[in-house]
Amino acid sequence: MEGPNKLLLEFKNHTIVEQCYSSLSKSGVDEIIVVTGRDAEIVSGLLRLRQQDRLVHNADFRLGLTTSIQKGVKQAHGDAFMLCLADMPLLNMDHYDSLIEEFQTSAMADQEAILAPFVNGKRGNPVIFSKVHKPAILAHNEMNGCRSLINHNLNHFIRYNTEDHAFLSDIDTAEDYSLLNQ
């Protein structure tokens, strides 16, 4: 059986998922598509969505991250989409905006650009994909994310090098969570 939902843990007087949405909504992204899975009703009740944002439920969320990415990407219409994990509450508006700005510069030279942050050589999140990769993401058949898509497009892959560990700080364990609150 599964433990408590990490997205509903408390962080800065609200929940982790609220923190993530709040940061993103202040950033330069045009539209936020929130993909819910477990505890969808609670999550949707917590978020006060802006008019341009949407909730999409992924009934197959137990099949892994890919199904949630595909649910969201299917709805996305922009020139690019940023795949954001909701369990990274240390990322703020500036983190997202710096990635977007770097991507926009890169995309002028390469319309198939994919950009990800790298902290001391380690790849973090979120990753931004140009819209040309949408069909490949929707057809992707590995269950736990789109890493192999990046590997297949290394000639379009751009590293955003930084020393900011917020880009690596997701919550996978109780220890991660306790570190977050220190």
């Binding site: 009740g45 099949l63 199904t67």
Partner: protein, 378 residues
């Protein structure tokens, strides 16, 4: 197993297919298939496997045909309401193909009978609609080394795969527990009656299962072993996910913890956490003295219109906006159709400070069964 002249004529349109031939037909005639459930998924499986000439088909279903089944369970007629589904299905199918032998099990498949029933078949098709049966059938097929054709539907989406198929080098393909080693919390699993289902969807998904069953038996083509097909009927898209053997699989992983069939109802109900047990009331207690209680019905208005206990109707999704209508100074009995939504409602109301709540055990279904058999159910 040789074919008669009539059989050669009956199956001519598939015998002439490249790679199928008389050999494929003989394999079907020699094969035995057990179909778990004669409902929405069971119907196309039963029809196509019977029509295709499978030699022996077992069908197991404890349930009777009800009016709400007929929107999707196309083997049954309106005049068969109340008849056992396995029996009703077999009588239709015998008329479709007298060459096929049928075995009918008017019982629920359980940990006690599953091994004895499944052992007599070459292949199993899962057309069940609940998690305990899905885990039970999966595990029994693993222990007995039988291939299992998996199908599942929810609202507008379906899934199909082939589990535990014997591969060329003698090993077996992935199974349901490689996808889901353990079940989700029960409140995350709405049934067709709670979540709804698009009527043609089981027809599509069940037909895909029959397609895979025929391929496994005849050895034609490439099956869905190692792949999970996800089908969305609303935008008519399908995609695949690769399934890999999971070393944490409790039956076939590197450290198996399940070596025989277990109590699957308890397994899927999850651990009982004392402080989360809801105070409840039986339908008999409510019937004996209903003046003591304020009845709150958290179903949708159209459900209330079909049958109700006369209480206040506030759908679960609107509870928070209508708290002022719920008294805090009288025992409030909360009910829905079966008890799932009412439990969610009670948890929600508890967070709002209510301490006077009782969950009606079994909901309106229990009331119809125990108190008022004339009440309309759905």
């Amino acid at each position: 197993m040789t074919l008669s002249r009539d059989e050669l004529i009956r199956y001519n349109r598939q015998i002439i297919l490249p790679d199928f031939g008389v050999a494929g037909q003989e394999r079907l005639k020699a094969a035995s298939v057990l179909i778990i459930g004669a409902g929405g998924l069971g119907a196309p499986n039963l029809q196509y496997l019977t029509a295709a000439g499978v030699g022996r088909i077992g069908v197991i279903d404890f349930d009777q045909v009800s009016l709400t089944n007929l929107q999707r369970q196309v083997l049954f007629n309106t005049d068969e309401l109340g008849v056992n589904k396995a029996t009703a299905a077999a009588s239709k199918l015998k008329a479709l193909n007298p060459e096929t032998e049928f075995e009918v099990f008017e019982t629920q498949i359980s940990s006690e009978n599953a091994m004895a029933i499944i052992v007599d078949y070459d292949l199993v098709v899962d057309g069940s609609d609940n998690l305990p049966t899905r885990y039970l059938v999966n595990d029994a097929c693993l222990f007995l080394e039988k291939p299992l054709i998996y199908g599942a539907i929810f609202r507008f989406e379906g899934q199909v795969s082939v589990f535990n198929q014997e591969l060329e080098h003698g090993s077996r393909g992935p199974n349901y527990r490689d996808l889901f080693p353990t079940p989700p919390p029960p409140e995350m699993v709405p049934s067709c009656s709670e979540g709804g289902v698009f009527g043609v969807l089981p027809g599509i998904v069940g037909s895909m299962q029959a397609n895979e069953a025929i391929k496994v038996i005849t050895g034609m083509g490439t099956t869905l072993s190692g792949k999970l097909l996800l089908f969305d009927s609303l935008d008519f898209t399908s995609r695949y996910l690769n399934i890999r053997s999971n070393e944490n699989n409790p039956v076939t992983g590197s450290n198996p913890t399940i070596t025989k069939l277990i109590d699957y109802e308890a397994f899927c109900a999850g651990p009982v956490i004392e402080e989360e047990v809801l105070a409840s009331l039986s339908v008999h207690d409510l019937h004996a003295d209903n003046s003591r209680y304020f009845i709150l019905d958290v179903r949708e208005p159209y459900e209330y219109d079909i049958s109700n206990l006369g209480g206040l109707n506030i759908p679960l999704g609107q509870l928070k906006e209508q708290l002022e209508q719920i008294p805090g100074d009288k025992q409030v009995v909360v009910h829905c159709k079966s008890g799932v939504r009412s439990a969610q409602a009670i948890n929600l109301l508890k967070q709002e400070g209510y301490t006077n709540l009782l969950n009606l055990e079994g909901g309106i279904l229990a009331w119809q069964k125990e108190i008022d058999s004339e009440m309309a159910v759905y």
